[in-house]
Amino acid sequence: MNGGPFVILKDVAKRWNGQLGVEDISLEIEEGSFVALLGPSGCGKSTSLRLLAGLEIPDEGQILIDSRDVTTSAASDRNLSMVFQSYALFPHLSVAENVIFGLKVRRVPKAERAEKMKRALEITGLTGLESRKPGELSGGQRQRVALARAIVAGQRLCLMDEPLSNLDAKLRNSVRKDIKKLQRDLGITVVYVTHDQTEAMSMADKIVLMKDGRIQQVGTPDDLYNRPANTFVAEFVGAPPMALIQSSVLAGFDKDLTLGVRAEHATIVEKGKGQLTCTVSEAEFLGSETLIGLSHEGTTGLSVLQPGLSLMDEGVTVDIAFDTAKLHKFNQEGDRITGM
């Protein structure tokens, strides 16, 4: 480690037939960190990853990996590995052959190959499945073969393109932990594309939230959750997402502002003592608490959390109060107003 960022993207842009691919992507990634590229589908997160991988060449900008300009280098010259969404396992090769495919291509001696493979299979818990074909494995096992193939060569940078999206919810949780542990234990740098904010929030040291080919915010999960840079970030991050309220419907605020409030900072209060009177639109029992969805003109996504099981009927009117200090303010363009 030489102190400087391990991966640097400088004003990278990629366009297809004049249409927007990604634009103005500037990003610095420290060695050993876990960076998540997060965003809705079509936001350019996969394109950014492919640009980094060398599967696409940018129209503009510069990409540096380990202080080396790799903007136009071939994928194989960038010393990185990649886990594909579909895993991209070779269906006619066994688990062992899949894992050592890259080593073989790079003419690593046989003994070293066997040693590395053994270790990779141990780490990913695949020992004993060496001779199976991908078609004979479960989804979770295939996913682990893809991981083993990515780590076997010992590259310091590993790119992952929605590696968990083909797994069921339960498996996703456990593999998420495995990947995070793997990244820490091996000390590798991971750039991870996902559309699932829970994945990004729980795994990443740094999240890059994108929309329409542009970066909206780069920051820690804490930054994104507690200090969203704009209303898009506010509404994308968190479950439930942040509610937005036009300041005009609340007393005591400048006009033309958008106020953001998290469900945990709003409470139902006695009639007549709240700041806003809204109607209950839905109630969702989540186990430890109940999420009450509320509607009011000039607000979107308003909700409160009630402890335990406390379902409310639709159409009931309730008064709610906010913790004013915890409100987020956005200007008319939707950008955060700082210094509050």
């Binding site: 599967l55 994928a75 194989s76 990649m82 579909s86 991209a88 269906p91 790079r106 193939r149």
Partner: protein, 297 residues
């Protein structure tokens, strides 16, 4: 309860047989029965006005084995198969790999390659007859530009079979290319990308990934090419009629000659049975041996 299950099972069985029956009836009428009838007639002697047909066991077969023309024809056909099968498959694969890559006018290239297949064999043979014609033909015209002497490609024993082989390859390669193209399109793009990241060259990728994944198609094409090497003789009627001096005569053409030119049905039947037997054996080997080494998705 068990009665109910039995009834259901019987209903399923009847349903299955009903679905099978159209194909079974047609195959029995037009394939199985004729094969058996052919086999039976191959065991009888030729019926003449003076002598009625009588059971002569395998005499027709021993006659064939003693017939020098038969051996020439067998040799011709083996040579014909040994050249047309691998060459047309190799060309088909090369064309498919090329027509599947990102090239300009891809649609045009594919159509151009496929055109020979659309032409009826008779039309194709007439076309090539024009190419091969000594003096007037395109080949000779081009040759004369370089001062080469006129060659009667179809008229001399040394070149006649080669000329026929080239027409067959020309005709078949485009057809097989279509199967390869279809198979190539089922190989996901990200396998190539995964290989790229590992630093895999284009050649290694083709050899280690693409070719093995194309094996089921290759097997299918091989069986087809083999059958065609026996079945496809239309062009012989136009180009050489098996001549000169049996140099380009293939087995099916000889069978046809035997049956409809020499009116010797029993010998033709015997030869047909031999061809059927050989084809069955080769197809069985291809399927049982290669099948085990083939990866199916």
């Amino acid at each position: 309860m068990s009665k109910h299950v039995n009834l259901e099972r019987r209903r399923q069985a009847i349903y299955g047989w009903l679905l099978l029956s159209p194909a079974a009836v047609l195959l029995s009428l037009f394939a199985f029965y004729p094969s058996i009838a052919t086999f039976i007639s191959s065991l009888f002697s030729k019926k003449t006005r003076r002598k009625p047909s009588e059971f002569i066991e395998l005499e027709n077969y021993t006659d064939l084995f003693a017939d020098p023309t038969f051996w020439i024809v067998v040799k011709n056909n083996l040579f014909y198969a040994a050249i047309t099968i691998p060459v047309s498959i190799a060309i088909a694969l090369a064309m498919a790999l090329w027509a599947n890559s990102k090239i300009p006018a891809r649609g045009f290239v594919r159509t151009a390659y496929f055109t020979p297949t659309v032409l009826p064999m008779i039309a194709a043979a007439n076309l090539w007859l024009f190419f091969y014609t000594p003096g007037l033909g395109v080949l000779d015209q081009i040759g004369s530009l370089f001062g080469l002497p006129s060659v009667n490609w179809l008229g001399q024993p040394e070149t006649a079979l080669w000329a026929v082989i080239i027409v067959t390859i020309w005709k078949e390669a485009g057809f097989f290319m279509i199967f390869y193209l279809a198979a190539l399109q089922t190989i996901p793009e990200d396998l190539k990308e995964a290989a790229d990241i590992e630093g895999c060259s284009r050649w290694t990728y083709t050899r280690r990934i693409v070719l093995p994944l194309l094996m089921p198609t290759t097997l299918f094409i091989m069986v087809n090419a083999m059958i065609n090497s026996v079945k496809l003789i239309d062009h012989l009627f136009i180009l050489t009629k098996g001549g000169p001096s049996d140099a380009s005569k293939l087995i099916l053409y000889y069978i046809w000659e035997m049956a409809f030119a020499f009116f010797d049905a029993p010998h033709a039947a015997a030869m047909t049975i031999l061809v059927l037997a050989v084809l069955c054996i080769v197809a069985a080997i291809q399927f049982f041996y290669l099948d085990r080494r083939t990866h199916y998705q």
